[in-house]
Assembly symmetry: C2
Protein backbone atom coordinates (compact mmCIF):
# COMPACT_ATOMS: atom_id res chain seq x y z
CA UNK A 1 0.00 0.00 0.00
CA UNK A 2 1.31 3.39 -0.85
CA UNK A 3 1.77 5.58 2.17
CA UNK A 4 2.57 8.92 0.61
CA UNK A 5 -0.24 11.18 -0.37
CA UNK A 6 -0.13 12.62 -3.81
CA UNK A 7 1.80 15.83 -3.28
CA UNK A 8 -0.07 18.80 -4.72
CA UNK A 9 2.69 19.31 -7.22
CA UNK A 10 0.45 20.51 -10.02
CA UNK A 11 -3.11 19.53 -10.91
CA UNK A 12 -4.95 17.40 -8.37
CA UNK A 13 -7.92 15.04 -8.72
CA UNK A 14 -7.56 14.20 -12.37
CA UNK A 15 -8.99 10.78 -13.06
CA UNK A 16 -8.15 8.29 -15.76
CA UNK A 17 -10.83 6.78 -17.88
CA UNK A 18 -11.27 3.59 -15.90
CA UNK A 19 -11.86 5.48 -12.67
CA UNK A 20 -14.32 7.71 -14.43
CA UNK A 21 -16.08 4.62 -15.68
CA UNK A 22 -16.39 3.23 -12.17
CA UNK A 23 -17.50 6.60 -10.90
CA UNK A 24 -20.19 7.25 -13.49
CA UNK A 25 -21.30 3.76 -14.41
CA UNK A 26 -20.52 4.39 -18.05
CA UNK A 27 -18.17 2.06 -19.91
CA UNK A 28 -14.84 3.34 -21.16
CA UNK A 29 -16.02 2.71 -24.68
CA UNK A 30 -19.08 4.85 -24.10
CA UNK A 31 -17.02 7.67 -22.65
CA UNK A 32 -14.72 7.67 -25.65
CA UNK A 33 -17.73 7.48 -27.93
CA UNK A 34 -19.24 10.55 -26.33
CA UNK A 35 -16.01 12.40 -26.84
CA UNK A 36 -16.01 11.27 -30.44
CA UNK A 37 -19.49 12.70 -30.85
CA UNK A 38 -18.34 15.97 -29.39
CA UNK A 39 -20.41 15.72 -26.25
CA UNK A 40 -17.27 15.93 -24.17
CA UNK A 41 -13.92 17.63 -24.52
CA UNK A 42 -10.83 15.65 -23.52
CA UNK A 43 -10.30 17.80 -20.41
CA UNK A 44 -6.58 17.02 -20.52
CA UNK A 45 -4.07 14.49 -21.73
CA UNK A 46 -1.12 13.00 -19.91
CA UNK A 47 2.37 12.93 -21.40
CA UNK A 48 1.60 9.60 -23.02
CA UNK A 49 -1.75 10.88 -24.27
CA UNK A 50 -3.87 9.28 -21.56
CA UNK A 51 -7.21 10.98 -21.14
CA UNK A 52 -7.52 12.85 -17.85
CA UNK A 53 -10.85 13.98 -16.44
CA UNK A 54 -11.61 16.63 -13.86
CA UNK A 55 -14.68 16.94 -11.61
CA UNK A 56 -16.45 19.10 -14.16
CA UNK A 57 -16.14 16.29 -16.66
CA UNK A 58 -17.69 13.88 -14.20
CA UNK A 59 -20.59 16.21 -13.62
CA UNK A 60 -21.02 16.55 -17.33
CA UNK A 61 -21.01 12.81 -17.88
CA UNK A 62 -23.56 12.27 -15.14
CA UNK A 63 -25.68 14.95 -16.73
CA UNK A 64 -25.48 13.17 -20.06
CA UNK A 65 -26.38 9.88 -18.46
CA UNK A 66 -29.34 11.46 -16.76
CA UNK A 67 -30.63 12.92 -19.98
CA UNK A 68 -30.14 9.60 -21.71
CA UNK A 69 -31.56 7.22 -19.10
CA UNK A 70 -34.02 9.29 -17.16
CA UNK A 71 -35.26 11.64 -19.82
CA UNK A 72 -34.84 9.33 -22.79
CA UNK A 73 -33.22 11.91 -25.01
CA UNK A 74 -31.18 10.80 -27.99
CA UNK A 75 -27.51 11.68 -28.03
CA UNK A 76 -28.27 14.14 -30.80
CA UNK A 77 -30.78 15.95 -28.61
CA UNK A 78 -28.37 15.82 -25.72
CA UNK A 79 -25.83 17.40 -27.99
CA UNK A 80 -28.20 20.30 -28.48
CA UNK A 81 -28.77 20.70 -24.79
CA UNK A 82 -25.07 20.49 -24.13
CA UNK A 83 -24.17 23.03 -26.72
CA UNK A 84 -25.66 25.36 -24.19
CA UNK A 85 -23.65 23.85 -21.42
CA UNK A 86 -20.49 23.91 -23.47
CA UNK A 87 -20.93 27.55 -24.24
CA UNK A 88 -21.38 28.08 -20.55
CA UNK A 89 -18.03 26.51 -19.81
CA UNK A 90 -16.37 28.55 -22.50
CA UNK A 91 -17.95 31.59 -20.99
CA UNK A 92 -16.21 30.86 -17.75
CA UNK A 93 -12.81 31.72 -19.12
CA UNK A 94 -14.21 34.72 -20.92
CA UNK A 95 -15.80 35.70 -17.65
CA UNK A 96 -12.54 35.53 -15.76
CA UNK A 97 -10.68 37.34 -18.49
CA UNK A 98 -12.63 40.51 -18.02
CA UNK A 99 -13.35 42.80 -15.14
CA UNK A 100 -15.89 44.82 -17.02
CA UNK A 101 -19.05 44.51 -15.01
CA UNK A 102 -21.26 45.12 -18.00
CA UNK A 103 -19.67 42.32 -19.96
CA UNK A 104 -19.82 40.01 -16.98
CA UNK A 105 -23.48 40.77 -16.66
CA UNK A 106 -24.03 39.93 -20.30
CA UNK A 107 -22.22 36.61 -19.99
CA UNK A 108 -24.17 35.63 -16.93
CA UNK A 109 -27.49 36.55 -18.43
CA UNK A 110 -26.63 34.59 -21.51
CA UNK A 111 -25.81 31.57 -19.38
CA UNK A 112 -29.07 31.95 -17.52
CA UNK A 113 -30.94 32.00 -20.77
CA UNK A 114 -29.36 28.70 -21.72
CA UNK A 115 -30.33 27.11 -18.44
CA UNK A 116 -33.85 28.38 -18.90
CA UNK A 117 -34.00 26.72 -22.28
CA UNK A 118 -32.88 23.42 -20.77
CA UNK A 119 -35.59 23.71 -18.17
CA UNK A 120 -38.19 24.49 -20.81
CA UNK A 121 -37.20 21.42 -22.80
CA UNK A 122 -37.50 19.20 -19.77
CA UNK A 123 -40.77 20.82 -18.78
CA UNK A 124 -42.24 20.11 -22.20
CA UNK A 125 -41.48 16.46 -21.71
CA UNK A 126 -43.04 16.50 -18.29
CA UNK A 127 -46.16 18.13 -19.65
CA UNK A 128 -46.58 15.40 -22.22
CA UNK A 129 -46.07 12.70 -19.63
CA UNK A 130 -48.64 14.32 -17.40
CA UNK A 131 -51.08 14.40 -20.27
CA UNK A 132 -50.58 10.68 -20.67
CA UNK A 133 -51.17 10.19 -16.98
CA UNK A 134 -54.35 12.18 -17.26
CA UNK A 135 -55.53 9.85 -20.01
CA UNK A 136 -54.73 6.88 -17.84
CA UNK A 137 -56.70 8.41 -15.03
CA UNK A 138 -59.61 8.86 -17.39
CA UNK A 139 -59.48 5.18 -18.24
CA UNK A 140 -59.33 4.39 -14.57
CA UNK A 141 -62.32 6.56 -13.83
CA UNK A 142 -64.18 4.80 -16.57
CA UNK A 143 -63.43 1.47 -14.94
CA UNK A 144 -64.46 2.79 -11.56
CA UNK A 145 -67.69 3.88 -13.08
CA UNK A 146 -68.37 0.39 -14.33
CA UNK A 147 -67.51 -0.96 -10.95
CA UNK A 148 -69.97 1.34 -9.31
CA UNK A 149 -72.65 0.24 -11.71
CA UNK A 150 -72.05 -3.36 -10.79
CA UNK A 151 -72.08 -2.56 -7.13
CA UNK A 152 -75.37 -0.82 -7.71
CA UNK A 153 -76.47 -4.24 -8.82
CA UNK A 154 -78.09 -3.69 -12.18
CA UNK A 155 -77.56 -3.67 -15.89
CA UNK A 156 -76.66 -0.16 -16.90
CA UNK A 157 -77.61 1.61 -20.07
CA UNK A 158 -76.78 -0.08 -23.43
CA UNK A 159 -73.57 1.91 -23.59
CA UNK A 160 -73.07 2.27 -27.35
CA UNK A 161 -69.35 1.72 -27.12
CA UNK A 162 -66.89 4.59 -26.73
CA UNK A 163 -67.95 8.07 -27.56
CA UNK A 164 -65.61 10.90 -28.37
CA UNK A 165 -62.28 11.46 -26.71
Amino acid sequence: MTHLDAPPTTEPDLLRIHEVSAETGLTTRTIRYYEELGLLKPAARSEGSYRLFDPDDLERLRFIKGLRDDAGFSLAEIGQLLEDDLARVRNRSRFRSTTDATERRAILEDAMGRVDRQVATLQTKIDRLEAMIAEAHARRAHLENHLAEIDAGAEPAPHAHESRR
Copy 2:
Protein backbone atom coordinates in the same frame (compact mmCIF):
# COMPACT_ATOMS: atom_id res chain seq x y z
CA MET B 1 -84.28 -8.23 -21.19
CA THR B 2 -82.05 -6.03 -23.26
CA HIS B 3 -83.14 -6.05 -26.84
CA LEU B 4 -80.42 -6.84 -29.32
CA ASP B 5 -78.83 -4.13 -31.37
CA ALA B 6 -78.90 -4.17 -35.13
CA PRO B 7 -76.78 -7.10 -36.28
CA PRO B 8 -73.30 -5.79 -36.99
CA THR B 9 -72.85 -8.03 -39.96
CA THR B 10 -70.30 -5.70 -41.53
CA GLU B 11 -68.29 -3.54 -39.15
CA PRO B 12 -68.10 0.10 -40.18
CA ASP B 13 -65.20 2.55 -39.94
CA LEU B 14 -62.46 0.05 -40.59
CA LEU B 15 -59.44 1.79 -42.03
CA ARG B 16 -56.72 0.50 -44.28
CA ILE B 17 -53.11 0.92 -43.42
CA HIS B 18 -52.50 4.04 -45.46
CA GLU B 19 -55.36 5.89 -43.84
CA VAL B 20 -54.13 4.80 -40.45
CA SER B 21 -50.73 6.12 -41.39
CA ALA B 22 -52.15 9.51 -42.31
CA GLU B 23 -54.23 9.52 -39.18
CA THR B 24 -51.47 8.64 -36.74
CA GLY B 25 -48.40 10.06 -38.42
CA LEU B 26 -46.71 6.68 -38.39
CA THR B 27 -45.44 5.15 -41.62
CA THR B 28 -47.00 1.99 -42.97
CA ARG B 29 -43.73 0.22 -42.43
CA THR B 30 -43.69 1.25 -38.81
CA ILE B 31 -47.23 0.05 -38.28
CA ARG B 32 -46.43 -3.33 -39.75
CA TYR B 33 -43.25 -3.46 -37.72
CA TYR B 34 -45.19 -2.85 -34.52
CA GLU B 35 -47.50 -5.66 -35.43
CA GLU B 36 -44.49 -7.85 -36.11
CA LEU B 37 -43.20 -7.04 -32.63
CA GLY B 38 -46.52 -7.99 -31.14
CA LEU B 39 -47.40 -4.49 -30.02
CA LEU B 40 -50.53 -4.61 -32.13
CA LYS B 41 -52.95 -7.27 -33.21
CA PRO B 42 -54.13 -7.19 -36.84
CA ALA B 43 -57.64 -6.12 -35.83
CA ALA B 44 -59.05 -7.73 -38.96
CA ARG B 45 -58.16 -8.76 -42.48
CA SER B 46 -60.07 -8.21 -45.67
CA GLU B 47 -60.81 -11.03 -48.09
CA GLY B 48 -57.58 -10.36 -49.86
CA SER B 49 -55.70 -10.20 -46.55
CA TYR B 50 -55.56 -6.41 -46.34
CA ARG B 51 -55.07 -5.20 -42.80
CA LEU B 52 -58.11 -3.42 -41.39
CA PHE B 53 -57.95 -1.21 -38.31
CA ASP B 54 -60.70 -0.11 -35.99
CA PRO B 55 -60.79 2.97 -33.72
CA ASP B 56 -59.31 1.02 -30.83
CA ASP B 57 -56.30 0.25 -32.97
CA LEU B 58 -55.85 3.92 -33.71
CA GLU B 59 -55.99 4.76 -30.05
CA ARG B 60 -53.46 2.06 -29.35
CA LEU B 61 -51.10 3.32 -32.03
CA ARG B 62 -51.33 6.87 -30.75
CA PHE B 63 -50.62 5.57 -27.29
CA ILE B 64 -47.53 3.77 -28.57
CA LYS B 65 -46.38 6.87 -30.38
CA GLY B 66 -46.83 8.92 -27.25
CA LEU B 67 -44.80 6.52 -25.18
CA ARG B 68 -42.11 6.46 -27.83
CA ASP B 69 -41.84 10.16 -28.66
CA ASP B 70 -42.98 11.91 -25.54
CA ALA B 71 -41.83 9.53 -22.89
CA GLY B 72 -38.82 8.14 -24.73
CA PHE B 73 -39.55 4.53 -23.91
CA SER B 74 -38.03 1.77 -26.00
CA LEU B 75 -40.39 -0.47 -27.91
CA ALA B 76 -39.47 -3.25 -25.50
CA GLU B 77 -40.60 -1.15 -22.55
CA ILE B 78 -43.71 -0.15 -24.43
CA GLY B 79 -44.36 -3.81 -24.97
CA GLN B 80 -44.37 -4.27 -21.22
CA LEU B 81 -46.76 -1.40 -20.69
CA LEU B 82 -49.01 -2.68 -23.45
CA GLU B 83 -49.11 -6.17 -22.12
CA ASP B 84 -51.29 -4.58 -19.53
CA ASP B 85 -53.35 -2.83 -22.11
CA LEU B 86 -53.68 -5.96 -24.19
CA ALA B 87 -54.90 -7.93 -21.23
CA ARG B 88 -57.41 -5.17 -20.67
CA VAL B 89 -58.80 -5.61 -24.15
CA ARG B 90 -58.98 -9.35 -23.74
CA ASN B 91 -60.77 -8.77 -20.49
CA ARG B 92 -63.44 -6.87 -22.32
CA SER B 93 -64.77 -9.96 -24.04
CA ARG B 94 -64.43 -11.96 -20.85
CA PHE B 95 -66.32 -9.18 -19.16
CA ARG B 96 -69.15 -9.28 -21.63
CA SER B 97 -69.26 -13.06 -21.56
CA THR B 98 -70.26 -13.20 -17.93
CA THR B 99 -73.04 -11.77 -15.89
CA ASP B 100 -71.56 -12.82 -12.60
CA ALA B 101 -71.10 -9.60 -10.68
CA THR B 102 -68.27 -10.98 -8.61
CA GLU B 103 -66.29 -11.98 -11.64
CA ARG B 104 -66.97 -8.66 -13.30
CA ARG B 105 -65.69 -6.92 -10.21
CA ALA B 106 -62.51 -8.97 -10.33
CA ILE B 107 -61.90 -8.17 -13.97
CA LEU B 108 -62.42 -4.48 -13.42
CA GLU B 109 -60.18 -4.35 -10.40
CA ASP B 110 -57.51 -6.20 -12.31
CA ALA B 111 -57.76 -3.68 -15.12
CA MET B 112 -57.51 -0.84 -12.66
CA GLY B 113 -54.38 -2.32 -11.22
CA ARG B 114 -52.81 -2.36 -14.66
CA VAL B 115 -53.68 1.26 -15.24
CA ASP B 116 -52.21 2.14 -11.89
CA ARG B 117 -48.96 0.47 -12.86
CA GLN B 118 -48.81 2.47 -16.07
CA VAL B 119 -49.33 5.63 -14.10
CA ALA B 120 -46.62 4.68 -11.65
CA THR B 121 -44.16 4.04 -14.47
CA LEU B 122 -44.89 7.41 -16.00
CA GLN B 123 -44.71 9.12 -12.64
CA THR B 124 -41.27 7.67 -12.00
CA LYS B 125 -40.08 9.25 -15.19
CA ILE B 126 -41.63 12.56 -14.26
CA ASP B 127 -39.92 12.46 -10.89
CA ARG B 128 -36.54 12.01 -12.51
CA LEU B 129 -37.17 14.82 -14.93
CA GLU B 130 -38.20 17.08 -12.11
CA ALA B 131 -35.04 16.24 -10.27
CA MET B 132 -33.08 17.33 -13.32
CA ILE B 133 -35.05 20.54 -13.45
CA ALA B 134 -34.23 21.14 -9.83
CA GLU B 135 -30.53 20.78 -10.64
CA ALA B 136 -30.91 23.25 -13.47
CA HIS B 137 -32.60 25.67 -11.14
CA ALA B 138 -29.70 25.30 -8.76
CA ARG B 139 -27.31 26.24 -11.54
CA ARG B 140 -29.50 29.16 -12.37
CA ALA B 141 -29.57 30.33 -8.79
CA HIS B 142 -25.81 30.12 -8.75
CA LEU B 143 -25.64 32.36 -11.77
CA GLU B 144 -28.09 34.78 -10.24
CA ASN B 145 -25.92 34.92 -7.19
CA HIS B 146 -22.94 35.91 -9.28
CA LEU B 147 -25.03 38.49 -10.99
CA ALA B 148 -26.09 39.98 -7.69
CA GLU B 149 -22.48 40.18 -6.60
CA ILE B 150 -21.60 42.10 -9.69
CA ASP B 151 -24.52 44.42 -9.30
CA ALA B 152 -23.54 44.97 -5.69
CA GLY B 153 -20.13 46.23 -6.76
CA ALA B 154 -16.97 44.78 -8.21
CA GLU B 155 -14.87 42.10 -6.51
CA PRO B 156 -17.01 39.75 -4.45
CA ALA B 157 -15.97 37.70 -1.46
CA PRO B 158 -13.22 35.01 -1.78
CA HIS B 159 -15.87 32.52 -2.71
CA ALA B 160 -14.47 29.12 -1.70
CA HIS B 161 -16.15 27.48 -4.66
CA GLU B 162 -14.30 25.21 -7.09
CA SER B 163 -12.99 28.20 -8.91
CA ARG B 164 -9.44 26.88 -8.67
CA ARG B 165 -8.10 25.39 -11.89
